[in-house]
């Protein structure tokens, strides 16, 4: 085929982002679940990373809103719905198989809501997302298509890691993944990076010290990574 429209390019990119957001959110919630055993309101730190205040009654109330509430843009349910929305219009690019894992992830989440202990069933949700990525590697022959999804994924990961103040080691890994994916994007396409902003990020994550100082600058630069370079008159 080898013909990607602007609309499909956009869906591919956001499919990568939302699938990754679902995955990282799931991972973080796992940790919070664990802390919940020992302490109450153990999620406030997580909320503050997104500038949110604690308006929740207790741990369970928080979980309800961050796992299942489809109207909360920070919830797992929301990210999964958006991943599915972007995926459903890409069937012929990403395969029915890949799509089936997003469907299953949605179904698994829904089922877990009725469980006594949702954590157990969330393990299979993680499997569903691994399955999805397996299909992306297995079924997408076109490297250009695959790479747009991967760019979305690695960009989302770095973005979330920066926001959640992950350790430098993880940031470094996420950064080098992203640059690897960005380098493979052809010039004159919408996902070609703007080198000015990539340089800024690179500078900010050069060392652990710099990262401590400049992580918010890195985050800002990341938002502009696909801006068209200014043309000097």
């Amino acid at each position: 085929m080898g013909t990607i429209s602007i609309e499909h390019g956009d869906h591919l990119y956001w499919l990568g982002r939302y699938t990754e957001r679902s995955f990282t959110t799931l991972k973080v919630l796992h940790k919070i679940f664990d802390r919940m055993i020992d302490e109450d309101h153990c999620y406030t730190e997580y909320l503050s990373c997104f500038g949110l205040s604690d308006i929740y009654e207790d741990n369970n109330d928080f979980i309800r809103h961050f796992l299942y509430d489809k109207n909360n843009p920070n919830s797992l349910a929301f990210s999964l719905e958006r991943a599915y929305d972007n995926g459903i219009v890409l069937r012929e690019e990403i395969s029915t198989e890949a799509l089936s894992f997003l469907q299953m992830a949605k179904d698994t989440l829904k089922k877990s809501e009725k469980m006594q202990n949702p954590r157990l069933s969330l393990i299979s949700l993680e499997d569903n997302i691994y399955g999805f990525w397996g299909c992306i590697y297995e079924y997408i022959y076109d490297a250009e298509i695959k790479n747009i999804i991967k760019c979305g994924k690695s960009l989302e990961r770095l973005d979330l890691y920066l926001r959640l103040d992950y350790p430098y080691r993880s940031i470094r890994k996420a950064y080098s993944r992203l640059t690897r994916n960005l380098e493979s994007i052809p010039e004159n396409t919408p996902y070609r990076y703007n080198s000015k902003f990539l340089d800024e990020i690179s500078n900010a994550v050069e060392s652990a010290d710099k990262y401590d100082k400049y992580s918010s600058e890195a985050l800002t630069a990341l938002e502009h990574i696909f801006d068209r370079p200014e043309v000097s008159a």
Binding site: T3, E92, S100, N188
Partner: protein
């Protein structure tokens, strides 16, 4: 059931839920609007197949090929010489009053003269074993993807049943479709045009795109330049499209030729088409041949164009347009089924037996006032098919949509969509009105 016992099948399947679970996993859905809100519904699948034995299928196949060939000849004739009208076989009125006739298509010769590339012919089997044609769908018949994916999944769920029975493999549909598209390709890639995710048949559009290796497109990704249809790429380039399998209605296809208010069409697509630079599947204007009023004339077309006797029967049909028929319809309205020719999708179908005397009289007056608007048919006593409901087998009305593909030759897909009604009293089997589907097995011997 041709030597296959229902019990054998239901035991092997164990529970229909398993297969429905698989169908759910693969997202086999259709869209529906309820109170103005779009919802995706899973299309309920009944695991007991409709079984057609090899001999029966051979005759159905011959009959369908004959019918579709005649319909294609008719369409070419209507948009060119109109001999069938000149020779008095079909009254002129029936052509030009039909909303499916598009004057804008006059004189266009589609690639290789094919108008209906994919025909969905609805049949029912009577209690007497005889098959009757209920209607022809030559515009954008949908439904082939459902039995296609259901077969894939039932073979996983109950391999033994397939090992023991000689069921013709139906998983060649995408290849047949691809061949049909390639046969008329005017040079370029294959594309399937969908109105978007919120269309009832979106699952099918995307599934067929995936399996035929076509690009699934919406109108804003396309443009016509120098009478050539292009796909606009994200890098600012363009890729030529040689064949467009469109799943939007004729009237919306090109706002510069048809409805100016269409927001889902491609401006100047008809110019590219007329210039022979792109094939459109199915051809615009086909509605004139699957009009409920034209249905009456199809057996006559077969004799006229092919010089053959029709192999498959129409349901006995009356046209109130003819005085003699009108008299019969008015006298027997209570036992007939009346169809409004302008309606589709199971709407506009009225059973005389459901109406009060008062309503019947009202209906008679409507028919007298607008005889061209209706056709009347004898109610066929269809053969009921077993379906599973809560572990029990119950009998329900079902029809069969057979798919006929006109490429280098005309081929009938050895399967089809069997739809059944959930409601025990209903004769209307349409997915948009509830109900589910079955796989259709054609035995190879």
């Amino acid at each position: 059931m041709s030597g296959i016992k229902v019990e054998q099948f239901t035991q092997a399947v164990g529970n229909a839920d398993e297969i429905n679970e698989l169908l759910r996993r693969y997202g086999v859905k259709f869209g529906i609007y309820k109170n103005g809100v779009f919802k995706e519904q899973f299309f309920p699948f009944d695991p007991i197949p409709r079984v057609i034995n090899a001999e029966d299928f051979k005759s159905i196949e011959k009959g369908l090929v004959q019918r579709v060939d005649a319909l294609n000849r008719f369409l070419f004739d209507i948009y060119h010489e109109k001999n069938i009208v000149k020779d008095g076989i079909v009254p002129e009125d029936f052509i030009y009053i039909s909303s499916g006739y598009l004057a804008q298509c006059e004189g266009i010769s589609p690639a290789k003269g094919i108008y209906s590339h994919i025909s969905g012919i609805d049949l029912v089997q009577g209690k007497d074993g005889e098959w009757y044609i209920l209607e022809d769908n030559l515009r954008i018949p949908s439904g082939a993807s459902y039995p296609l994916i259901a077969r894939e999944l039932t073979r996983i769920a109950c391999p033994d049943v397939f090992a023991e029975n000689n069921v013709t493999d139906n998983r060649n549909y995408a290849d047949l479709l691809k061949e049909t598209m390639e046969n008329v390709n005017c040079g370029g890639i294959r594309a399937i045009l969908t109105p978007g995710r919120y269309n009832a048949a979106y699952f099918e559009h995307s599934y067929l795109a995936e399996h035929t290796g076509s690009v699934l497109v919406q109108n804003d990704e396309l443009f016509v330049e120098d009478n050539i249809l292009y796909h606009r790429t994200y890098s600012g380039g363009k890729t030529r499209i040689g064949v467009l399998y469109r799943r939007i209605a004729d009237e919306y296809l090109d706002p510069l030729t048809f409805l100016p208010e269409s927001l889902i069409g491609i401006p100047n697509l008809m110019e590219a088409y007329r210039a022979g630079n792109v094939a459109i599947i199915n051809a615009p204007g086909n509605g004139v041949a699957d009009d409920k009023g034209i249905y009456y004339f199809v057996p006559k077309m077969i004799e006229y164009y092919l010089g053959e006797k029709p192999i498959l029967k129409n349901a006995p049909t009356y046209l109130p347009f003819y005085e003699e028929d009108r008299k019969y319809v008015l006298e027997n309205i209570g036992k007939l089924v009346i169809k409004d020719v302008a309606e589709a999708g199971g709407y506009g179908v009225v059973f005389g037996s459901d109406l009060s005397d008062e309503k019947l009289e009202e209906f008679r007056q409507t028919i007298i006032a607008e005889p061209r608007r209706f056709i009347a048919q004898e109610v066929i006593d269809f053969l009921d098919l077993p379906i599973l409901e809560g572990g029990e087998t119950v009998m329900r009305k079902a029809d069969l949509r057979a798919f006929v593909l006109s490429g280098k030759e005309t081929k009938v897909w050895a399967s089809g969509l069997t739809r059944f009604s959930r409601n025990p009293d209903s004769f209307v089997v349409n997915s948009s009105q509830g109900g589910g589907f079955k796989d259709t097995w054609v035995l190879s011997r």
